[in-house]
Each structure stands twice: as structure tokens, then as C-alpha cells.
Symmetry: C2
Subunit: 313 residues, 2 copies
Amino acid sequence: MRLFAYRDATASRALGVSVDGINFHEMAVLAPDLPQETEELLGTDGALARLAELLAVAPSGRPIAEVTLLPFLERPNALWALALNFKTHIAETGLTTSLDYPHLFLRTAASYVGSGEPILAPPENVARAFDYEGELGVVIGKPGRHIPVERALDHVAGYTIVNEGSVREYQMHNRQFGLGKNFEASGSYGPWMVTADEFGDPTRHSIETRLNGIVRQRSGLDDLLVGVAETVAYLSQGYHLRPGDMIAMGTPGALPPAEDDAEGRDLSRQFGPFPTPGLVHMRPGDLAEVEISGIGTLSNPVIADQPATYRIG
Amino acid sequence: MRLFAYRDATASRALGVSVDGINFHEMAVLAPDLPQETEELLGTDGALARLAELLAVAPSGRPIAEVTLLPFLERPNALWALALNFKTHIAETGLTTSLDYPHLFLRTAASYVGSGEPILAPPENVARAFDYEGELGVVIGKPGRHIPVERALDHVAGYTIVNEGSVREYQMHNRQFGLGKNFEASGSYGPWMVTADEFGDPTRHSIETRLNGIVRQRSGLDDLLVGVAETVAYLSQGYHLRPGDMIAMGTPGALPPAEDDAEGRDLSRQFGPFPTPGLVHMRPGDLAEVEISGIGTLSNPVIADQPATYRIG
């Protein structure tokens, strides 16, 4: 089952559920007795199972293509992300990470848009190394503390796709990534959350990131340095995981460019600290897509952010 | 004027306003026409001025001592914090920071409680280097992007006090501070926000942190490496500042211990990466207080977090 948020001509925000990712039903009509806010829904015992039952006997719904998708979380307490969690990305950046602990930082809700919504590229006089990062997103359902690794996946309600868009110059301004991972509308997640029972074992899936149709990242999700269960267990040692918390699991390295890929082979068009063959920055007019098997495709046009009328630093 | 949130026998959450920090009026009674949520109130043009007018002609109110204070922000988009923003703290940690850019990271709302509420110390088998960090908190009012330094303070609605409680072992698990700055209820802010017009120039104020009545940090706020206006301007280059965003401005170093301060002189009782004379960790049973001139005192008992039934790493 797929859960998502959308707007259309009649509603500024509603929740939708879908079996196939093609047609959907409005949550408020299908299950008016259930909470109509994602975090509360995910925190309600048995709510997803009840929805699946209702959906199984519902008539064919309305096309998802008719509506505009939104980020499906409303006001999550924590949007965690992992840095340097693929060997291929560690190699291309030359950065170091602990092999014992996940490399965690936070993003704000304002740094993400939904699938189909535009991602904002910074003006060139602010930053030019604006990079896609295709990632698996883990969405927490059941809350908890001190969760053993072997029970950690019980706390996962579902999975989504994240483009953890990053502004490299700002990320390297100081030792904490800070603003570089939190530019306004610089990333995205969606198109929906696929429930954990349907997605199954994350390590059996694969991820692919395309810019303007050209594959720039591709990896199995069995290649994570710290896995989903280990990350959930680690966080729960200090933090009470809440329904609707999301964890972006880190991005793989760039694919080597093909022979005829002039852009991917031209390091002179790269800015920022990690010039890498096959890496191409996101720029206004681009289309960024991240696909994960078993979930679908997160797709965002890239447009120019408002001009910088003022600059420091 | 002071703005705060509280609960009492009749309300689970209400806003209060006070001239003197001793007696107060309930916002919903004093100004039922104004938004009754902090972020929305701070984002409403002229709302604080209107409140001050109403308060000036109101009869003497009810004692603040009768109610339980809460964090005055409801669901802020961003709780920024600065690392290593005092030379004295840089010296004691031996860590490095850029001299050109603020050293920014994020905390979640769940990592903070209000004044008077208990701060949670991790169980000893999870972490022992649980440290106070007394800091000035800057609360954003007017939203904005690309804000010049010379207009940045126009976007500040007021100031508060932060105890940016930190779990050093976890902070050093990897290069991003991650979970170490985000343990559940590990920090606090309050007791209230003092409006910017009343607080005036932050650099003319001073901060003092006490543990069990012994002064452990004391500094002028003119000693910040990156100032309030510079930080607001920097953030606004990539991020759209929102009403109710908070920025914790960094903590000063430890005061040298007095001759008769056995605890402050005993480095064998210190854990974590930065053993420093005069540094004393927070432990269950302690009272942590941070005072800033012109605001008041943020005061929190320290109690033991729930036992760790499970540990990794």
C-alpha cells in the first residue's frame, strides 16, 4: 500500500492511499474514522492494516496523475540523514567516517518538497555545487526507546525515496554541515511511503539517480555501511523515536561516465570540494529523478531560487 | 515584555505575558483577537506592540510562580545552534572552527524542555559526559531571505536563555554531532522570551551558568566569535527564516575552579573528550541554572533518564 499527501482544485492538503501507485482513494472518504494527519495515523496501532482492508474492497479510484503531490509528513519532529554511508561515496569525497557509528545530522522540513514540486537551485553567486543525493528514506511508525537491532524493523512503518539535495560550498564552510544541508526547498521526498510489509527487506532493493535521463548513481541497498535496523537501534539509545520521523540512509557514489558523456567527463564544469568523473551539478532547467525498486520514482524539476539581493562571506 | 507558555490545573497549554516576570496575564483573556500560538503570534505584524499596549493598562495579574512553564515554541521549523562560538570554549575543547562562517547544527524540539521541567541525564552505561552549555537564544519574528547584516536585528522578535545540554561521547561518535546534541529532553530554553526592544544590544549583556549554585561559566556576550546579526544574515542566504525559529548562540568555556572547589579540580571525575578544570558534568540530583542579564534565570533539575534496557556500540 502507498500513502501520500496531495492537493487538488478542492483541497489544499489531503491524504491519499493507493494499491498500485496509479489510482487512489482519499483517506477522509475511505476511512473517515482514522486520523487524517500522517504522523498521527502512523502512530495509531492497526491503522495501516485497517486502511489496507478498506482499500482491498474499494472500487477503482481516481488517477494520481490528476493531483499535485506534497511531502506526506506534516510536522515531523526529526528528519535524520546519514552522511557517508556508502563506500563508493566515501571514496569519491575522500572524507572520513566512523565504522562503528552512523554519521547523523538533521534537516528541517522546509528543506524538502514533494515529488513533482520544483527543487530550488541557489543563484550562481551564492553557490554552484548543488548536488543530488538519491537515498532510501525510512519512516518510523511505532515509537520507542532502547530498541534492540533485532526488533528495530518493527518500528518502521514504511519506506520512501529521498533526494537529499546538498549545497557543497556551504556544507564545507565549517565542520558541521549546517546550512549546506538545509537550503530552502533544496531536496525532496516521495512520491509516497510504501508500507514495510510490501517493501520487504531493504537490502534486496536497488537505487538509481538520473539527471536529465542520464543515470548518475546506481547501487544495491545491500551496500549500506550502517543498515536500517542498526541506525534505528542506535538513535533509540538517546532519542525517543516518534511516528513520522524519517531517516535518509545516505547516498552512493557517482557512476563512472560513459565514453560519449562529455558533461560527465568534464571536471572543469564542476565546483565545490569533490570533483568526480560522472558527477554533474543540478541546475535550473534540469530534471532530477531517483528510483528505488519496490517504491517508484521521485521526480523533481530544478528551477532557479530567487536572486540573492545580498551576500555575505 | 515577557512571553511564555505554561500549563496549570485548567489548561494543558496556554500563553502568558508579563511585564516584570513576577505576575502575568493569560494571552487568550488579555488579547483574544491575537493568534494564540507563539509562531503565528510572532509572525503577525504589530502583534507584540499591541500586546504591550494591552498589558500596560491591565490590572496586576496572577503570579507566574503558580504555573508550570513549558517551552514557549510549539512546532518551530528550525532550532539552530552554534558550535565553538566563544574563544574560551574553543581553547578548552581544542577543536577547530572557521573564523569566516558560523558553525551551525540543528536540534529537534524533543531535545528541549521548559524552565523548571526536569532535564534527563543518560544512564551511566550509555554516557557520563553530560554537559551544560549556557547560551543566548535568539527568536526570529519577521520572516526573510537575503537579509543584510545591518537589517538582521529587525528580524529578531526577542531573546531567551538556552541550556544546550550535550552528551559528549555521542557527539564525538562521528564528525557530525548528530545524536549527541539531540538526546531526549537533554536541554532546555526559557523561562520566557524577552522582546528585543527591552533586551536591547545583546553584546551589552552577560551570561552565567551555575551547577548546584557554583558558577561554572561566566562571560560577556560581546565575546561571540560570530554575532547575532551576522548569523541571521548568513542563514538567510540559503534559508527562509520563519517566525519562531530559534538560534542558540554558543557557550563560553569553563571558569577556572576556586582553591576549595574539590569537584571542579578533580579531573579524574571527568569523562568524555575534553577534561577541563572547572568543568563538572550534570548528574541526577543536580540543579542547572543559566542566567542572562535582562532576561532572568533558566533553571532545571536534572533527573535520571529511564534505564537502558538495551545498548549497542
